[in-house]
Structure formats: structure tokens, C-alpha cells
């Protein structure tokens, strides 16, 4: 018998070509773009990175965490800590942020993995709150009121002088360009890593564990191993993003860095309205989110209420999100992971 296993679709081939063009354009964008556009894009890239990691956890792994703000906050605080206490440059400190978030994920997973479903969600939230309260005791980093990156550290961040010379611009603009590039690299690497993971056999195992734990075990999948791998990877990516966000903000406080609304509720909103369990969903979701924010943010509480309402409506009428709606109608998949078996009937008849 003859067969082919296909993952690519014609839309995904177009998407690959589109991405190959878009990435270089995105890198040279600071040459033309205004500072406010770069700041908007920084926001999009960092929120999208957080959303992709949460989507990997919840949409592919079935691990619905509402405690990801623990890793944003921990990554950000570790970055501030290495800058202020050890005198590192902020750029390599971002990496330290990712690593410390990864370390925090070890005890978090150890406790939270004993819980299932809604209990797991609440457990992760509780652990995040404990982390926030603990960090607020860290007097050298400002305790409960927080602190700023020292001027000596922000004045000569790695690469900033080079960017200043290259673009012939002020330090503050050069810092925004640096943050933009780092966020761009981070979001590209995140999507590439997640897409690669889903295309390997570990991606299959992750889906199997999500769909049916008992059956996954019975066909030789080790659910614990795959859950740990996913959770640790998501914590590392989330920690890096947190550190980068706060390098750009240059000011930190426990309430802001460990905010469940900013770093988990918004992220869940992005994934849910965009389409959970797809890579395209969060991309669409973050754009919708930014539009809603720029339209409604001046309405204060009404903004949050309308976000909630939109979330509920999407969950009720388009449970697979806007991308799910679009993809069901058109059959388009930009990042396909499904392995389709195409049998060649003619050949198999001859045989």
C-alpha cells in the first residue's frame, strides 16, 4: 500500500512565505516607525508571548493555570535583583529572570500537580499570591512599594549606545528600540519553539494526555513527564517576558508585577477570544485586545465589564474563538499540526 503523511497545507506554505517576508520587515521597522508604534508593538509582542505560553499550557496541555503572574513577577524581580544587587547589565539579567522563574516552577509544579482541573487553577493562583507576599518582604528591592532601576544601570544598557549611533537618536528612544527588538526576538523564538514542539512526537503526547489521561498511559505515554516539561518551559518563557516587560518599564512593585488581571486575566482573554488550542488564535486575539483597549480604555471600569461580556459572548457562541470561527468557515490553517494520512488508492489497488 502507498501513502503520504502530510502536515503542510497550501495556506501554511503561504503563511511561511509571508512570515519570511514579515520578519525582516519587522526588524528594520524602527527605521521608519514612530516611537508610539514601536511601544504598541512591544506591548503586542510581549502579551502575545505570554498568551502563546498560556495557550500551550491550557489549550494543548489541559493545564489551566491562573497563576502565571507568579512567573511574570518572579522573572521581573529576579531581573531587578541581578541589576541592583549584583550590578549586572539589564539585558543578560533578563535571562536570569527566566531561570529564576524556572526554579520557582519546580516547587509550584510539585504542589499544583497533585491537584486536578479547577483545583489546579486555584492552587496555582494561591502559589502566585504567596510568591507576591514573599517578594513584598524583600526590603532591598523596595518591599511592598517597589523600586526603580538605578540610573547608573539604565544609562548604559548593552547595545543602547550602538543603537543611538545607528539611528542618531536620544537614549530613551534607543532603549525603546532595544526593547522592541528583544520582544520581537522573544515572540519569534516562542512561536517557533511551540510550533516545533507540537510537530514532534511530544506534541502528540501532550494532546493525548489532554484528551484522555488513562488512555495515554495505556499506550506508553508518561503523562507526568510531558506535564512537567510543558509547565517548566512555560514558566521559563513567561519569566523571560516578565523580565523584559519590566526592563522597559524600569519601575517595579509587587502589586503590579504579580497582577492577576494584567498578566493572567488579560492573557486568558486574548487566548479565549482568539481561539484556544491554536497558534493563530492568540495572534488574532492580541490584535483584537489592543483595538478594544485603545477604544475603551478611557471608560475605566466599563472597559473591564465590556471585556468580560465580550469574553462570555465568544465562549457561548464561538467556543473555539474568532480564529476557530474563521478556520471552520474557510478551512485555513496557518500553523497546522494535524498529521493527515493520504492513501494512494490507485497504487493500493494495483497491489
Amino acid at each position: 500500500m502507498s501513502y503520504v503523511v502530510k502536515v503542510q497545507t497550501s495556506a501554511s506554505r503561504m503563511a511561511a512565505i509571508g512570515t519570511a517576508i514579515l520578519i525582516p520587515v519587522a526588524f528594520i521597522l524602527p527605521l521608519f516607525a514612530s516611537r508610539s508604534l514601536l511601544q504598541d508593538l512591544f506591548f503586542i509582542f510581549t502579551m502575545l508571548t505570554l498568551a502563546q505560553w498560556w495557550n500551550l499550557l491550557a489549550g494543548y496541555g489541559g493545564l489551566v493555570s491562573v497563576g502565571q503572574q507568579a512567573f511574570v513577577g518572579m522573572g521581573a524581580y529576579a531581573m531587578f535583583g541581578t541589576v541592583i544587587l549584583l550590578g549586572w547589565d539589564p539585558v543578560p539579567s533578563i535571562l536570569a529572570g527566566g531561570i529564576v522563574a524556572l526554579l520557582l516552577a519546580l516547587p509550584t509544579a510539585f504542589f499544583a500537580f497533585r491537584l486536578q482541573g479547577a483545583y489546579f487553577a486555584i492552587g496555582t493562583w494561591v502559589i502566585a499570591e504567596i510568591t507576591r507576599l514573599t517578594v513584598a518582604q524583600w526590603k532591598q528591592l523596595g518591599g511592598g512599594t517597589g523600586t526603580s532601576l538605578p540610573r547608573s544601570a539604565t544609562r548604559d544598557i548593552m547595545f543602547v549606545d550602538g543603537i543611538k549611533a545607528l539611528f542618531d537618536t536620544k537614549t530613551s528612544v534607543a532603549r525603546d528600540i532595544l526593547a522592541y527588538w528583544l520582544a520581537l526576538i522573544l515572540v519569534i523564538l516562542t512561536i517557533a519553539a511551540i510550533y516545533w514542539l507540537l510537530r514532534t512526537r511530544r506534541g502528540l503526547a501532550l494532546a493525548a494526555v489532554r484528551d484522555n489521561l488513562q488512555a495515554a498511559r495505556s499506550v506508553g505515554v508518561d503523562p507526568d513527564k510531558i506535564k512537567w516539561l510543558t509547565f517548566l518551559a512555560a514558566a521559563f518563557g513567561t519569566g523571560l517576558t516578565g523580565a523584559l516587560i519590566y526592563m522597559q518599564k524600569a519601575r517595579i512593585s509587587p502589586d503590579a508585577a504579580f497582577s492577576v488581571v494584567d498578566w493572567t486575566a488579560y492573557v486568558i482573554f486574548i487566548v479565549v477570544i482568539g481561539g484556544i488550542g491554536t497558534i493563530e488564535g492568540p495572534i488574532l486575539g492580541v490584535i483584537v485586545f489592543l483595538l478594544l483597549q485603545s477604544l475603551l480604555a478611557s471608560y475605566g471600569t466599563w472597559y473591564l465589564i465590556s471585556l468580560g461580556l465580550i469574553g462570555i459572548i465568544v465562549m457561548l457562541f464561538a467556543p473555539r474563538g474568532l480564529w476557530g470561527l474563521l478556520s471552520d468557515r474557510t478551512g485555513i490553517e496557518l500553523f497546522p499540526v494535524q498529521r493527515r494520512l493520504v492513501m494512494n488508492k490507485k497504487l493500493s489497488k494495483e497491489k
Partner: protein, 239 residues
Amino acid sequence: MSILSISKLCKSFGFLKVADEISFDVPAGQALGIIGPNGAGKSTLFNLITGNISSDGGQIFFQNEDITQVSPMKRTLSGIGRSFQIPQPFDKLTVFENLLVAGTFGRNLDEAKTTDNCVEILQETGLAKHVNLPAGQLSLLERKRLELARALATNPELLLLDEIAGGLTQGECDSLVATIKSIHEKGVTIIWIEHVLHALTSVVEHLLVLDFGRVIAIGDPGEIMKSKEVREIYLGIEV
């Protein structure tokens, strides 16, 4: 040579003894049927053999190795495959991907190296028409076939079937039995729990009767079904 050897296996849930010093041997290549009333401990016995639940005492030998403390995943790798009483497909994965998971992780192979085998099994089990359909959309018969196919994809030497013919129409049942027969003819050892007796007895060479976690009888199906005790326990007939 026996492929599976169980010795004084015990398991209790609270005061309820679901496995009470169960001992029996299964020679390689045999098809053994297990019958018994509801709650006799049949599915529990399967869960003990696959390691989904741990035993309170006794030993399980598979291919002369003590696997009593071995994890379910390693038991699958060493050649024990199973189907579930209530089909447990990976709903959002396609039929082909369901087999692919089993073929890669159950045999520790790359996707490409196990695909040939998966395609063969899909044709053998009559699922070739639905390869790219999400498993959640299958009918009951197709789900049962998928249970069988997925277990086969792990390349088992011992295949445990849990009421795979239950709930099917006569025609569906017959075609499934034919598939199971052909698998058995290839030399796969089968242990099959079933209430649909005519399906069971058309395949198995040996029959084991379980009641309250104890082995009541084991031997030739014809003789066992004639036995007074078995008829009383299993069929509820006053003799």
C-alpha cells in the same frame, strides 16, 4: 511456556475484596476468555495486569519477569496492550493520530518508523475510511475498532480486550470477532473479558470464571459451561 503468570494476586477496595488470591497461567499464543457476574473483579484484574492500579499482594510475571512494581508505561513497552470497556479515544486527535501516539510511545519509535505499521492496522481493523476524522466523531462500533487498533499499534504480545463486543449489533459483532480471530491467528496472546458469550467462545480456547475476586473455574470452555457451579453463579440458573 507461559507468557503471563499470576500468583496469589490480591486487591481490596476498603472491605471489598476484588482480587482474592488470584492465580493462573496463560501460555503464549493462547486466547483466554474471562467471564463472571458484574462486580466480580474482571476489569480490576485487567487494571492490575496493566498497572493502572497497584496490587495489595501477590505477583505478576510477564515473559518470566516480575512486573508487579513496574509502571504502566513500561508494561506497555514490554508488550502488554489493552482496550477499555468504555472506549477512551483521544477525541481531538484524528483516528490516524490516535494510532500514531500508540505506535511511537508504545514502541518507543519515531513517527516515521511506526507509520507503516499504523497504516496496516487501520486497514486490518476496517478504519481506513476514517483515518483523518477526529476520533470524537466516530460511531460506537468505530470507537470499539479504534480501541482495538490503538492497542495493536503498540505491537503487543499480550492483548487485553475488555468487553469489546458489548453494545454492538449482531452484524457489527460478527465482523469484529472476525478481526479479532485474524489477530489471534498471527500469534498474539489474547485475554478477553466478555458478556457476549457466543462471540467469546468462537475465539477462545480457554475460559476462566471469576466471582467475588476468586477464580471459580478455568479450562475448556465447553466443559466449564456445563459445570453446575458456573451455571448457578454466572447464569443464575437453579440446577
